[in-house]
Amino acid sequence: MTSMSANFVSSHALATSLVLPVMQAQSSLATAMTEESTGQYANLGLELGEQSGYELSLKEQVGQLQTLTSNNSIVSTSLSTAQSALSAISSSAQTTLNDLATWTAGANSGASLQNTGQSALQSLMASANATSGDDYVFGGINSAVPPMADYYSTPASMAKTAIDQAFQTEFGVLPSDPAAATISASAMQGFLSGPFAALFQGASWSADWSQASSTNTSAEIAPGETVTTSTNLNEPGFQELAQAYAMLSEFGGSELSGAAQQAVADAASSLVSQGMDSLTNIQAGLGSTQSAIASANSSMSSQLTILEQQVDNLDDVNANTTAAQINSLTNQIQMAYELTSRLQELNLAQYLPVP
């Protein structure tokens, strides 16, 4: 009988030789069709293996940058609110300054000085208690309570009481007392720059006027970049304006002599100018934070583009390759079917004469 040789092929092996290739091609075809429809590898984990963690970290960076970008809009809103409130304060201060420049003790009454002071102080209180969302923008981190107390409240506010007390202590009378007319301009100047000024600084300011925290809020605007995102009522600019408006409001319509009222108007005028300068500095500081956010957003946006590109490089299949693969797999399977049927006919029994 025939000896075994390298040419020997068993009929069983021949018949089944195409089974495995067809199964493999069918499974590859299913995978390729999934990839064709999703544009991504069918089994990302198996495709990436050890790189999976890297790919995930890229996706997570994308998520983190998207979160920061969307959070920055909240921070920007709050900064814009603060900026427009500061602008309103500045413009009211400018109006006050103009009023004071045209005021003279002889021609105008003290009552107009008082009106100027009152309306300016009310406008300052409204602007200082501006909110963005539920947060008071000038409250520092203590953003849940209105930073500036109502000066004109009933019963009398602590600030008003403290001013009356200081005046009484200095001159022995209240400003509304006719005896106050004897106070000289220089004595008034001394009072305004001494005991009166002290009420608008340090502990007295915090106790009578401001609920704000001196610690400003901060936020992460880009990975690792934390910036100060607010200012607070304890800044000198607010104190100077409040001081100027309060002196006008308290001593303008009082029994003081014309010379003393002129001294009040002069002192107020100088404080308002100082206050406006301070506020301009604060606005500049907030403006630089706003531009830092804008540049962080634009740099994060270009980073996002790069990161998303990298993720796509890892995750995505080439559409042309997949299409070509599907074509060649379909051809391969068709050829395997064809070959299987041909092999079935390749059998000696087919060619032997029927006895």
């Binding site: 009988m1 075994m4 020997f8 092929v9 068993s10 009929s11 069983h12 092996a13 018949a15 030789s17 999703t38 991504q40 590898y41 069918a42 089994n43 990302l44 984990g45 198996l46 495709e47 990436l48 293996g49 050890e50 790189q51 999976s52 963690g53 890297y54 995930l56 970290s57 996706k59 997570e60 998520g63 983190q64 979160t67 920061l68 969307s70 959070n71 920055n72 909240i74 921070v75 969302g133 947060d135 409250g139 520092g140 981190i141 203590n142 953003s143 849940a144 309570v145 925290s213 610690t215 809020t217 901060s218 936020a219 992460e220 934390t226 995750d315 059998n347 000696l348 029994a349 032997l352």
Partner: protein
Amino acid sequence: MSLSTAFNVISSSFAVNSGQTAVVANNIANANTPGYSREIANVVTNSYGGADVASVTREANAALLEHVSSSTSQAATQQAISDGLATLAQTVDDSSSASSTSGANQNGASPSAMLANLQSALTTYEDSPTSSSAADAVVSAASDLASSLNSGSATVDQVREQADQNMAASVGKINSLLSQFTAANNAVVTGLQTGANIASAEDTRDSIVTQLAQQIGVSTVTAANGSESIYTDSGVTLFQDTPRTVSFTATPTLVDGASGAPVTVDGVPITGANSPMPIQSGALAGYAALRDTLAPEYQTQLDQIAGGLINAFAESDQSATPTLPSLPGLFTTPGATSLPSMNATTGLAAAIEVNPNVDSSQGGNPSLLRDGGVSDPGNPAYTYNTTGSASYTGRIQQLAGAISTTQSFDSSAGLGASSSLADYANASVSWLQGENQQASDSSSYQNALATQATSALSNATGVNLDVEMTNMLNLENSYASTAKLLTTVNSMFSAVLNAA
């Protein structure tokens, strides 16, 4: 030489012809039987000068058979490992089609993705610390992370329990195959002594060895009397004249840290760390590797992540002179009264939960995250926001930073001793997918190899119908010639008898 001798030769010729035809018929009948070795009739000249079928042998090839059984074993090992790891890998899948528990997230539900979500939620909370919805979002992200670790840990348990059940099933098959082998082996030994046809018994024996190789890596040695002994690939005797007992006790519930029972042969463990001769291949080896090494290693990584989380989010005594110990904050385990040591994190991934003190659905207060006091509400020692300011972000910044701060891990989990939580969680995903990819590639490769080996064996020892057909034509011609010879000799006899 006489005419009667011629008759003897003719009759032996018919006998040889029918013997050979029987062999051809048998070969054709088994042409499509996998593992069938073609038979060969050995014809010798007899004392009358005729021919006899002295024996029928089979076309065996021990080397190729060995190759088939070893590649089958390797393929089965890798298949078992790959199946288990694929189940585990599903828990960290981040394909676009992967479903996630939190819906909106496209990075899957892995601890790593959930950790990144928590960090994003903390960043948002940091930018709007007065928003209670931002605080709730942090708590819900933290809760998703805890669930991800819980379900990851449960999946590990499930994979290990499945592997344990598969081991029991595999041991059952091995014992049954060994007892079938006993019968086939006895038939061969007896057949050799009595001179019976043992080809079919030998085929049975080979087929059993190949089936056995699917379950456990084996090697065989044939003794002089034809008896075959089976050893595991590590050298432990499975069969020598009689089958050895393979024993295994299944452990229905395998919790974190618990180890399953080893498979033993005659009391000698052949799987597990304590085995002097551990088996290397076969499905059994794959299940054992999955149950005893791979899944527990991933479990340790999950436990380390859980332990790292509890420690990273812990609260410390904020007094000027701290005296109290640090306590679990946002993440804790039920009834925990102290921080876990990173060297003893067993069971943490299964038990980790969000502290009920910050969970508003359990009556907690999410803003404790900003103010401190999650661990012990009302205790001023753990209060970070001492001024009670609504926009205090110092603590939230610490928490957001904790995820990317380098901390210590137990290096026995295989991912290094020092890393940030975020990197560690990513490294864990890489490790799992890496192992998964390797097992899957290896499984495809070994399967292809086993198919090739099987086909090579079939080509070496199988049946070619065309060859058998040719042989049959030969036999047909030989039968016709012998018949002609018989008629001729018969007429010669008649001529002699008529002449007398």
